[in-house]
């Protein structure tokens, strides 16, 4: 049994000091994400992308997911989004067992999750506010709501005054802010970001991280995969490290890696 930060990584069955052992039931209810011995092997692959991964993420946490290329970070996030299904083990997101969630209920789940990607994924032929509004239009939100919340969220991400620009007329950092606005406009419980600063310079990345931190402080759980050592070291949040699909470290207030 080791103590890393304030988090415990230990063997099952090993005695745990009473004070550090939170009530199990409450723990389950608070978990936004819970993986129980999850493995994922892609079709026609012999090597699993994830092996026997177990952990919990609670409401309001900010978690970095680190690991070298191919270690399974994106796979991990895709399992949460139910873009992929676990080969073994159980994935619970927002209290739902994704293996037992029928296909037609998946959209309902995704409406409670926000997504941000390295490549922004904006629609090039729509303006900034149209891009954000699109996310609400396609889930059938009333137009009055859309007119109200889109400017609000654009202000929040610091894009006030640039509503009518096209994505092509924005810097990379600004484009990522649009993507974050789109992800957050529906006030999701959980924001998932796959290398959101991967295409940005360090200065711009810091701005994006401040924004994600602000979103986190509104109560939204944030899970972010990243290669950015500097950011992880500066923010001092919980770090989950994958190596060849195994969870090798789970540390609160962690750094990017011991070896670096």
């Amino acid at each position: 049994m080791r103590l890393e930060g304030s988090r415990i990584v230990g063997q099952p069955g090993e005695p745990v000091p009473a004070l550090l052992n939170p009530p199990r039931l409450a723990d389950r209810d608070a978990a936004v994400i819970r993986f129980d011995n999850v493995s994922k092997t892609y079709p026609k692959q012999t090597r699993p992308a994830l092996r026997d991964v177990s952990f919990e993420i609670e409401k309001g946490e900010f978690v970095f997911l680190v690991g070298s290329s191919g270690s399974g970070k994106s796979t991990f996030l895709k399992l949460i989004l139910r873009e992929e299904r676990a080969s073994q083990g159980a994935v619970h997101v927002l209290g739902k067992d994704l293996a037992r969630l029928s296909n037609w209920k998946v959209p309902q789940l995704r409406r409670q999750l926000g997504n941000v990607f390295q490549d922004f994924r904006l629609l090039p032929n729509k303006t900034v506010s149209e891009n954000v509004a699109f996310a609400l239009e396609v889930i059938g939100k009333p137009r009055a709501t859309i007119r109200k919340v889109v400017p609000e969220v654009l202000d929040l991400v610091g894009l006030g005054g640039k509503e009518d620009r096209m994505p092509g007329e924005l810097s990379g950092g600004e484009q990522q802010r649009v993507a974050i606005a789109r992800a957050f406009v529906n006030r999701p419980m959980l924001l998932i970001a796959d290398e959101p600063t991967g295409n940005l310079d360090p200065q711009t990345s810091v701005g994006i991280m401040k924004l994600l931190d602000r979103i986190n402080r509104t109560g939204t759980t944030v899970v972010m995969a990243t290669h950015d050592q500097q950011i992880v070291d500066q923010m001092r949040k919980r770090v989950i490290e994958l190596e060849k699909g195994r969870l090798v470290r789970d540390q609160s207030r962690g750094v990017y890696g011991y070896q670096h």
């Binding site: 959209p107 409406r111 699109f134 396609v138 889930i139």
Partner: protein, 303 residues
């Protein structure tokens, strides 16, 4: 679902692949026009069969006074009552004969008028131009020759006619045409389906960015697929509308304006039969592309 959003998506999609949409419309129109045409030809054959088939198989037309100069066996003028009685007696003796009807020229005229009441020739024929006739139903229709050899050339008999054989030729021709139409329709249908599948595929590919985002923000599968399916259905409906136009103008120009004037002895299908086929064409025209699109999307558009 926001109608305005869907409509704008559809119109963008349709304009984006204008050539493909055009090809879909034309192929759907042709295949459905052929399908509707075949149905109508079958209807035509049935109309004629219903009327003719079981009624008579062999007609023995008796001389009337107009035949005196033109037909050799009628040199003595109209058939006498004596001749009629003899013929009827002889017919009854023949073992192949099942039933005999006697039709006077008056009755023939009535039937004729009834049958062609919509057509111009109804007024041309007068009762005394038509012959009295024996209509003979045979136990075995192929034994027509027995009757023919017994009565052909007999004084007072103008002609012996196997109407079934006459009709059979016509029906065979129509059925043959129908078979050709079916094959063509099958081919056109395959072409139409391939074009629809390809159009939907291209459309889904060109909008994969949008659909990818829609999926991630939690749009329902229904919402994501609807614009593509509606696109296909609208193209199909346009094609079906064209097919209906072709059928209606076919009935008007080909049948009413031309055939019914050239071919006098057939009663052609009426507008009511054409009108019942049109909704069928429209429904198939909408459903076929919509269903094809639905299955294409299951393959090419992850939801």
């Amino acid at each position: 679902m926001r109608a305005q959003f869907v409509l704008s998506e559809i119109s963008v999609g349709l304009r984006r692949n204008l050539t493909m949409t055009f090809a879909v419309i034309v192929s759907v129109a042709l295949s459905l026009a052929l399908a509707g045409g075949s149905l109508l030809v079958r209807e035509q054959v049935n109309t004629m069969k219903d009327y003719w088939y079981d009624k008579v198989q062999v007609s023995i037309f008796l001389c009337n006074k107009d035949d005196q100069d033109t037909v050799k066996t009628c040199q003595k003028g109209a058939a006498t009552d004596q001749q009629k009685k003899e013929i009827e007696a002889d017919l009854k003796k023949l073992p192949v004969v099942d039933q005999i009807y006697f039709e006077t020229s008056e009755q023939a005229y009535k039937r004729y008028k009834e049958q062609f009441k919509d057509s111009l020739i109804a007024g041309i024929v007068k009762p005394d131009q038509l012959q009295d006739s024996f209509r003979v139903k045979l136990k075995n229709p192929t034994k027509y020759k027995v009757v023919a050899s017994a009565f052909q050339g007999r004084p007072g008999v103008m002609a012996v006619q196997d109407q079934r054989a006459l009709l059979e030729n016509l029906f065979n021709l129509l059925n043959g045409m129908n078979r050709v139409a079916y094959v063509l329709m099958g081919l056109m249908l395959v072409v139409a389906l391939l074009l629809i599948v390809n159009t939907v595929r291209v459309s889904a590919f060109s909008r994969r960015r949008e659909t990818g985002i829609m999926r991630l923000v939690g749009a329902s599968g229904y919402y994501i697929q609807m614009p593509f399916i509606m696109e296909a259905a609208i193209a199909g409906l346009t094609g079906a509308g064209l097919a209906c136009g072709l059928l209606v103008s076919g009935k008007y120009f080909l049948v009413d304006k031309w055939l019914s004037k050239k071919v006098l002895l057939i009663n052609f299908i009426g507008w009511d039969q054409v009108v019942t086929v049109l909704p069928l064409v429209l429904v198939v025209g909408v459903l076929m592309p919509a269903i094809a699109a639905f299955f294409t999307l299951r393959k090419y558009l992850k939801v």
